[in-house]
Amino acid sequence: MKTLVFLLEKEFRQLLRSKQLIGILLIAPLIQLILLPMAADYSVKNISIVVVDNDHSTTSRKLIEKIVSSGYFRLKGYEDSYTAGLKMVEQDKADLALQIPIHFERDLVRENQKQVFVAINAIEGTKANLGGAYLGSIVKDFNEDIRLQWQVDNPAPTISVASSNWYNPLLNFKLYMVPAILVTLVTGLVAMQSAFNIVQEKESGTIDQINVTPIKKYVFIIGKMIPLMVLGIVLFTMGLLVGWLFYGVVPLGSWWVLYGSLVVYLFSMLGLGFMIATYCGTQQQAMSLSFFFINIFNMMSGVFTAVDSMPGWAQAIVTTFPPSHFIKIMRPVVLKGSGFQDILPEILWMLGLGLVLNTWAVLNYRKTS
């Protein structure tokens, strides 16, 4: 226990001495946190639409007007034929082409049903999903409008849907991104620094010296872990502050749950960093390898695209990524106020992964030394 104090004293001295590093480590992520949610705004507002109105009737004009005035769509122009409309989509000049076929109004009245054709550029899946959804609900509203207007007697029974959005009634996408981006920043900091820190001792040879001292391995690891944990906690706290100042995000859940799971998360990610370090001889290798992991974590842990949408095997892989669990904790705790009971499975997962990774690191460390 006494040796741990000396070890911690040394680690903190080294950490605090490199002022430049601390500056980079803390300031750079905060700038990212301020900028990223602004850039990572998936709330789709300006879907550009090209309209092919072959009917030129009052109804078709009203439908177009309703679509354009909804605020989600931006009218790019009119084309005479569907082919010409598709060409606009092809050239990226429009995201979506809408064709109202000839005799639209007439058939609607006579045959009670008429199709309109919509082609969406689906390369960007989110946009396509939302474009379709917005258009669908506008058409549905319009449908009710015209029934009312034509005062058709509707003998058939109808079920209507009253929908409401909880936890984020204004559908502000930034609220959703802030907690997740904070997680990615903490991830980057912790995984890289823990790998670096150990490899640095390897490169300078001090680790050999430590190995011949009677210091216990777990004491050494704990001594490395605590300063980095403190660094992670400081960054996290500053991040929450930025989230509150810039985006008005205030965690609804308990602080104990938030910080408790943060510590467990840091434990698991530090384990990963240490594990990487045992495989690397130079800082360059440590950099490339931890960069590889960070990149994959960022892309696959549900920050940008939902984990639920992935195929089963990929979801199984993602389960082994500690950040995916921490994101699953952060979003509900911050936005919905979930409690300890709700997120317990995720905490257990992180704890398990942390134990595996740290054990792996210690075992592999022994083997190579």
């Binding site: 990572a40 899946g125 939302l130 509707n154 058939a156 984020n168 360059q284 950099m287 590889f292």
Partner: protein
Amino acid sequence: MRQLVIFIRKEFLHVFRDRKTLLMLFGLPIAQIVLFGFALSNEIKDSRIAVVDYSKDAVTQRLIAKIGSSPYFNIQRTLASADQIDAAFKKGDLKMAVTFPAGFGDDVIHTGKATMQVIADASDPNQATTITNYLNQIVADFNTELAAGSGQPMTIVPSMQMMYNPELRGAPNFVPGVMALVLMLVCTMMTSVAIVREKELGTMEILLVSPFRPVYIIISKLAPNLLISIVNLFVILFLSDIFLDLPVKGSFLLLVFGSVLFIMTCLSIGLLLSINAQTQQAAMTGSLMGMMLPTMLLTGFLFPIENMPLALRLLSNLVPSRWYFIIVKQVMLKGLGIGAIWKELLILGGMCVFLFTISLRKFKIRLQ
């Protein structure tokens, strides 16, 4: 000329001797393409929902069955009371809760009108919007069924066609994006490290005092990286075609031409970085931190550029990968010709010439 050949040969030896790095250069990009290409998707299906049925009659049973059988929804549980919805949402997995008030079926049959309540977990706003819409469609279908085929009066049926990517896979969007990202990082990083390493070792001095023209040094430094990047490019294209079902729809030559232009631009950036960096670590950090974030952020494959604040939109014009991303999408995914991308090619070409000239000049200045 013979000198140049000898020098280029030496550079290739450097690169191919270092097996571990070589493995990383080829292995990591490929692993990422395959992983992201297969795994990432925007398709929303099997969303877990909960049902609160106060009515429990034939109509609600039928509607619930219909919702459950759709590919979009997966009825995870039935709640006894609407008070439990909040707790269920907080547990995390649930995306939506559907409530049928008491007497729902009677209302439908006798008054012809009934309202069901749908609550979406909107902490993810996009998913909430999308699945609410899916549910609306299902209910609309159900209404038609109720009318026993006669149909509701005056129904407009939107027929939606998802072009280029009907299953809303992530791959079509991510492959060009990752291609841009990977090529950009590999090119800048490799080049800057290669030159700075010679500086660190002191061998650069020897080269500079030799009667070798500086432009040759630069060319021979760039040659192996150009080759590796082109090999990477072919491997990525091959994998995309075979595994991800994303063949090059347009002209292969045109795509390669655009790619080479992009690679050259990135190599020039690496060259510029290396002239200013003193240590390998500085070069690595510079190319990773300095390139990575702007590339991921401003290329447009992760975040839609048109939603960004004006300053970021303007800044994105300076990022080469943004233009390359467009070229790949147009040629590879949509199969368009040079007419659709001449502007992007011109911009990339301009960037390339500009950056290369600057770094060449700076390199010379350092000599004197």
